[in-house]
Amino acid sequence: MANGIIERAAKSTPAPFARKIKGLSDRAIAWIFITPTIIILLAVNIFPLIWTIWLSFTNYKANRPNADVKWIGLRNYERILTDSDIWLTMQATAHFLIWTLVLQVLIGFALAWLINQKFKGNDLWTTIIVLPMMLSPAVVGNFWTFLYQPQIGLFNYVFAFLTQSDPTSFSMIGDVALAPWSIVIVDTWMWTPFVMLICLAGLRSIPDYIYEAAECDRASKWRQFWTITVPMVLPFLMLAVLFRGIENFKMFDLVVQLTGGGPGSTTELTSINLKREAFEKWRTGYSSAYAIILFVTVFGLASIYVKALNKVKER
């Protein structure tokens, strides 16, 4: 390859000389270009992370800056891992995570597949469909409390109109059994377009000649779908699941505005629970340990998942 020669030439040129003919050396440019990013990430991400790790071994409370900070070893971790309430929030998070992913993948993929049939006007519909994901999740959460009100909200009336029932006969966010579904519905409404866009990109990356070849082999449409479309879109779909999975594991804004974790603690996702510990009870040390546990969980799950994703891509 031709590019190698020049690069090698540039690299082998002594720096002062290189500057004379080409300005800064490549190595200097590389560092100039990368350093600001690394510094910002170190300052705003890594330094706080290390600080969190340190805090997690102490009994520090941020609302009492002058109190003594004691090193208490692994006590915080022990307390969290043996706390049954935390397992309840983990369950609520798992319910939310699994169902939003399932629904968004199914609906998102179906929509993308339909839109990819290239009918007239699909551009317009696509634009309409992606609108919800441009809203602020906190504002969305807040407005859905309004839409879900049995007496004055749109949701119950539309549902009642479709099923010919009484709109005030059920309450999405007030009922212990329905509340976990209320947050799934709103998140699905908001983020299905995201999954759809990724799937659409995947579908459009499949070259026509593959289908043409299959057509020549007289493969049925059904078979083409399962042997060509699905495997080719799978890496894209898995990527969408990764993005949404990470985001929904961290979910805070939408749900805190929508249900505030209630009724009881049926929709108290881990981030909401963490916020209570950190910024209401001000148990900074304890919540730091909590944060580290969450981070390790996401990090672990994500790395396993990324490995699986890479395997799928290699196929």
């Binding site: 609302n63 049995p150 007496q151 006969s169 966010i173 007030g174 505030g260 009881g264 001000w282």
Partner: protein, 440 residues
């Protein structure tokens, strides 16, 4: 015309001269919750700006975040607020942690006497420790939980006779919590003007202080006590007494039988929405909403009436709301801030405050013979202020509120466990907080 303007200008200048010994103009920031009375205070303060030459700016935080944000501001020694209209329960923290300036000397020097204010507001908003003449705030806004009801529905002949047939008494303002529940039950699910209506909108909110501010109105009146009157912080048998358990069970029964569907996370604004849209016959809410209800195009005027929280078998109390105004000790403009308090304490300003919808706590205003009849809710306000009781005002108030919210909400709304279990658990939680504080 010109002459009149001139005299006003001169008199304003005179007042300014007496009010403003400091020559330079300061920028003062007043912090409060974002709500209707706060807007009225902006309007009222224009007078102060004109007279003193200081500039006022306002930082209003919505109720759900008010305590979080402002306590955080105070705890971090922030200089955002010069004047703080902080919630009544913060006074212990403000005093003990040194967030507020002690006002005794200032009051003495300026002839402001706490005897001139409604006693309950002095105890509730200014004193720490309670019951001692140590003042950290000037009572600014009197507030208390009371009830609003649909007078027009109560006055319907058909409903009146049906109610009498069913309960053997007139359909009228309830005299006890039990009667209140009867009325709520009577209206629940009833068809009025082609709409299904419900009994009562009550506080159920989980995130901040909502359900606590609601449930205490039942707890107090069934015999709940915060601690042993003879032994501070002795909780067992008082917080979870039989009366307290009965009170909590009452509140759950009221929630289960007589509230609108979906009212599982409601506080002030949701209750107002439900009431104004004609969903409910009764509404529990702080008195601050009454001017707004009275002026409302749907339910205002003669359509609504107001009554204090009814008595229960264990007493007659109502949950205190409201705030005092304090000077933040981290402020760089403490003198100007004190000037503001001095201005605000004047009887004529307090009178104007009432006219703009602010509940003045000054006795000269509320004991004026014309006061009770000045607004349809004025008498109810006075009656309610006579029976108030407040939540803990300890420095650890925020840590005490959280378990209360949690335990009560889980029992009343989510139906987990029993009332006794909830209150027993609350005793444990609170004991732990007091142990952490070193009070036990």
């Amino acid at each position: 015309m010109k002459f009149k303007r001139l005299t006003t200008a001169i008199s304003a200048a005179c007042v300014a001269a007496t009010l403003a010994p400091t020559a330079h103009a300061d920028d003062l920031t007043l912090c409060w919750a974002a709500w209707d009375p706060a807007n009225a205070l902006i309007e009222l303060s224009k007078d102060f700006e004109g007279k003193s030459g200081h500039n006022m700016s306002f930082e209003f935080v919505p109720w759900p975040n008010f305590a979080d944000r402002m306590l955080n501001e105070l705890n971090s020694g922030g200089k955002l607020c010069d004047l703080m209209i902080g919630d009544s329960q913060w006074i212990g923290l403000g005093a003990e942690a040194g967030h507020y300036i002690k006002l005794n000397d200032f009051f003495d020097a300026n002839n402001i006497s706490m005897g001139d204010f409604i006693p309950a507001t002095v105890t509730g908003y200014s004193e720490w420790p309670k019951g001692t003449p140590n003042y950290w705030a000037l009572p600014a806004f009197g507030d208390v939980v009371g009830w609003t009801y649909r007078k027009d529905w109560f006055n319907r002949a058909d409903l009146k006779s049906e109610f009498k047939g069913k309960y053997g008494r007139e359909l009228d303002v309830p005299n006890s919590l039990a009667e209140l529940k009867d009325i709520a039950e009577f209206f629940q699910g009833r068809e009025i003007d082609g709409k299904t209506v419900y009994g009562a909108a009550i506080y159920t909110e989980r995130g901040s202080e909502g359900i606590t501010m609601g449930v205490t109105n039942a707890l107090y009146n069934f015999g709940f006590e915060y601690n042993n009157p003879n032994k501070p912080y002795d909780l067992d048998g008082f917080v979870n007494s039989d009366g307290a358990v009965a009170g909590l069970e009452y509140y759950k029964a009221l929630y289960d039988c007589c509230t609108p569907p979906g009212s599982s996370d409601w506080y002030m604004s949701e209750n107002i929405d439900a009431y104004k849209s004609g969903q409910v016959a009764l509404q529990m809410n702080f008195a601050f909403i009454w001017p707004g209800v009275h002026a409302d195009s749907n339910v205002g005027g003669d359509k609504s009436g107001y009554f204090p929280n009814p008595a229960g078998p264990g007493g007659h109390f109502a949950q205190l709301g409201g705030q005092g105004i304090s000077v933040v000790s981290y402020s760089d403009s403490k003198d100007a801030a004190l000037e503001y308090i001095k201005w605000f304490a004047q009887p004529e300003i307090q009178k104007q405050w009432w006219e703009l919808g602010g509940y003045s706590a000054l006795r000269a205003v509320v004991e004026d013979p014309g006061f009770a009849s000045s607004q349809p809710y004025a008498q109810t306000f006075l009656d309610s202020m006579a029976i108030v009781k407040d939540f803990w005002a300890e420095p650890s108030y925020a840590s005490l509120l959280l378990p209360m919210q949690d335990r009560v909400h889980k029992y009343v709304i989510a139906g987990e466990g029993t009332a006794k279990e909830a209150l027993d658990a609350l005793v444990d939680d609170w004991t732990e907080v007091f142990e952490d504080e070193g009070k036990l």
